[in-house]
């Protein structure tokens, strides 16, 4: 029964969604509504599950003194500090003369978000630019036809997406300026490639979904 019940649930829910898409009328639309509500509730719990899992993994790392365990300690401290400030501000906000939310401008939570979380997140993302530049210099080579095409596309798009590209080619007629080359690459080869990928993914999704709904694909249950 440990396998049959999940397979039956998958079959019923999957079929309900397919029917509701093509026949959006009672009772099929109600099934879709119910199942979507359930999904949203499960997704909300999954966020908590993710957070608790992170805590558990970090705690185990500290307990076993694995490599870089001080970073795990930092994760737990940051998590607890942020959550505590959120709860405290939320509590204060409820009983304040002018009620406010924990994330409103001026609260400690907002201060932490703007002055700690935002710069740290942006820094992590911004580091990419430095590594991309270093890799471009040391490894981005026109070794074969594919790499040459990629390099040429990168050259035209990178220059064409910023105004400096048009300044460099300002002596050319407008339709031959760098931004127009970049636009052509984005509109023609890029769109064609993206469409091919999308159609491929869609066909794969349809076939995999059918296999799951019909119980032929059971790897999501684990063990197979």
């Amino acid at each position: 029964m440990r396998r049959e019940i999940p397979i039956a649930i998958t079959f019923i829910v999957g079929l309900a969604y397919v029917i509701a898409y093509f026949i959006p009328h009672p009772p099929f639309n109600h099934f879709e509504t119910w199942f979507t509500d359930w999904f949203v509730i499960i997704a909300a719990f999954a966020i908590w599950l993710g957070a608790l899992n992170l805590l558990k993994i970090s705690a185990l790392k500290i307990a076993h003194k694995r490599s870089d365990w001080p970073f795990a300690a930092l994760i737990i401290i940051s998590f607890l500090v942020m959550i505590s400030i959120g709860f405290i501000e939320g509590y204060r906000g409820i009983y304040a003369d002018q009620p406010f939310q924990f994330r409103d401008p001026g609260t400690a939570f907002d201060w932490m978000y703007v002055n700690v979380y935002m710069p740290l997140s942006a820094t992590m993302f911004a580091l990419l630019a430095f590594f991309v530049a270093s890799a471009s210099y040391r490894a981005f080579r026109a070794r074969n036809l594919e790499a040459t095409l990629l390099l040429l596309a990168a050259f035209f798009v990178m220059l064409g997406r910023v105004p400096i590209g048009d300044i460099i080619t300002s002596w050319l007629p407008y339709k031959y300026q760098m931004s127009q080359w970049a636009a052509w690459i984005m509109n023609v080869p890029n769109t064609a490639g993206q469409r091919a990928i999308m159609i491929g993914i869609a066909l794969g999704l349809v076939s995999t979904s059918l296999r799951i709904i019909l119980g032929l694909e059971r790897s999501y249950l684990g063990g197979e």
């Binding site: 898409y21 639309n29 879709e32 509504t33 979507t36 509500d37 999904f39 949203v40 997704a43 909300a44 999954a46 966020i47 009620p99 939310q101 994330r103 409103d104 401008p105 978000y113 703007v114 979380y117 935002m118 997140s121 942006a122 992590m124 993302f125 911004a126 630019a129 430095f130 991309v132 530049a133 270093s134 471009s136 210099y137 040391r138 490894a139 981005f140 080579r141 026109a142 390099l151 990168a154 050259f155 990178m158 220059l159 997406r161 910023v162 105004p163 400096i164 048009d166 300044i167 931004s179 636009a183 984005m186 509109n187 890029n190 769109t191 993206q194 469409r195 999308m198």
Partner: protein, 328 residues
């Protein structure tokens, strides 16, 4: 090793504090100084070119330093770059410009602070344009931090244009419904009822039915236009596949530069009315709306960084071909 990193971090912090508290503000290079700096940079790259051709590749730390300089120096320069409005950004703007006063726009903030440097300027320009043209904005987010980013964008708009604090009323001119977990299933459910997914707002915790701007807003059919600021999944792709395709929502998108290429098929199929891609898309949007902000300022830095990367690619490849010819 750790000691060395701590010393570097401390030096950066000291340099930051000196710049913040001791130097006169704001520092702006004259045009001549800017040109001299650019010439010096060009000479530096020529020197790197010579070294590389001789087979002496510069270290990655030097590359990092060069990128850092290329990003930093333009902030002190006074060049204004000529910017052409692309058809993609014009499409997004035309959709907004065609709205009458009192129209309702749904704005989904599907990104986090990591992508804020690219998307936040678009969001700020969007709010400023809507506030100036009496367009009502309904904000929501499929990413946990999205709704907070919207609050920050509104706060930045109000900081820059103080009259908004008196003229713009929360609940009447805009509302923030917050984040809802569930990715595209949230969009599916909103197709029938917004209230089912967002029973209260997140700024004042008001019940859905008591918020004036949400009066007569039941589902997508009551929305005049929508815009999606997205940095990944769930984002523009999911909105198009569910809200646009199934519920005929009229939508434009603002994407990070990395994600924008994926939205082009939808743009060409007219499922998106327009697309703002990355920092340049943001700067174009600021220009066309007349709400100049951070994207226009940052664009010079981005231009310099792109140039640095391209020059490094060219130098690396020149050395590569030279080595290959020598080997033959």
């Amino acid at each position: 090793m750790l000691k060395k990193e701590l010393i570097v971090s401390a030096l950066i912090a000291i340099a930051f504090l000196i710049a913040k508290f001791l130097l006169p503000k704001p520092i702006q290079f004259s045009r001549t100084v800017s040109v001299i700096i650019i010439i010096l940079l060009a000479l530096l790259f020529f020197f790197i070119f010579i070294l590389t051709v001789k087979g002496k590749y510069i270290g990655r730390r030097v590359v990092f330093l060069l990128v850092g300089i290329a990003l930093l120096l333009p902030f002190f320069m006074q060049f204004t770059l000529p910017l052409q409005i692309s058809p993609e950004v014009r499409g997004a703007y035309d959709g907004l410009a065609s709205l009458k006063g009192g129209s309702k726009v749904l704005a989904s903030f599907d990104y986090d602070p990591a992508s804020a440097p690219e998307l936040q300027p678009m969001a700020e320009a969007f709010f400023k344009y809507c506030f100036d043209n009496d367009i009502k904005v309904i904000v929501m987010g499929l990413w946990p931090q999205g709704a907070q980013q919207a609050n920050l964008a509104v706060e930045a708009a109000m900081e820059e244009t103080p009259r908004y604090r008196d003229e713009i009323q929360y609940g009447e001119d805009w509302v923030n419904l917050g984040f809802q977990a569930g990715n595209e299933f949230v969009i599916v459910r909103m197709g029938e009822s917004f209230k089912a997914m967002f029973p209260r707002d997140i700024v004042k915790n008001l019940p859905y039915d008591s918020i004036p701007v949400l009066k007569n807003v039941r589902n997508f059919s009551n929305i005049d236009y929508s815009i999606n600021f997205s940095a990944g999944k769930p984002g523009t792709v999911e909105w198009v596949q569910v809200a646009v395709d199934r519920y005929n929502l009229n939508m434009a998108a603002g994407n990070t530069a990395v994600q924008a290429p994926m939205a082009y098929p939808y743009l060409k199929a007219k499922q998106l009315t327009g697309l703002m891609g990355g920092m340049s898309g943001g700067a174009e949007f600021e220009k066309i709306t007349g709400k100049f902000g951070k994207a226009t300022t940052y664009l010079l830095s981005q231009s310099f960084a792109h140039m640095v990367v391209i020059v490094l690619i060219l130098i690396g490849n020149f050395a590569f071909f030279r080595e290959r010819m020598r080997d033959k």
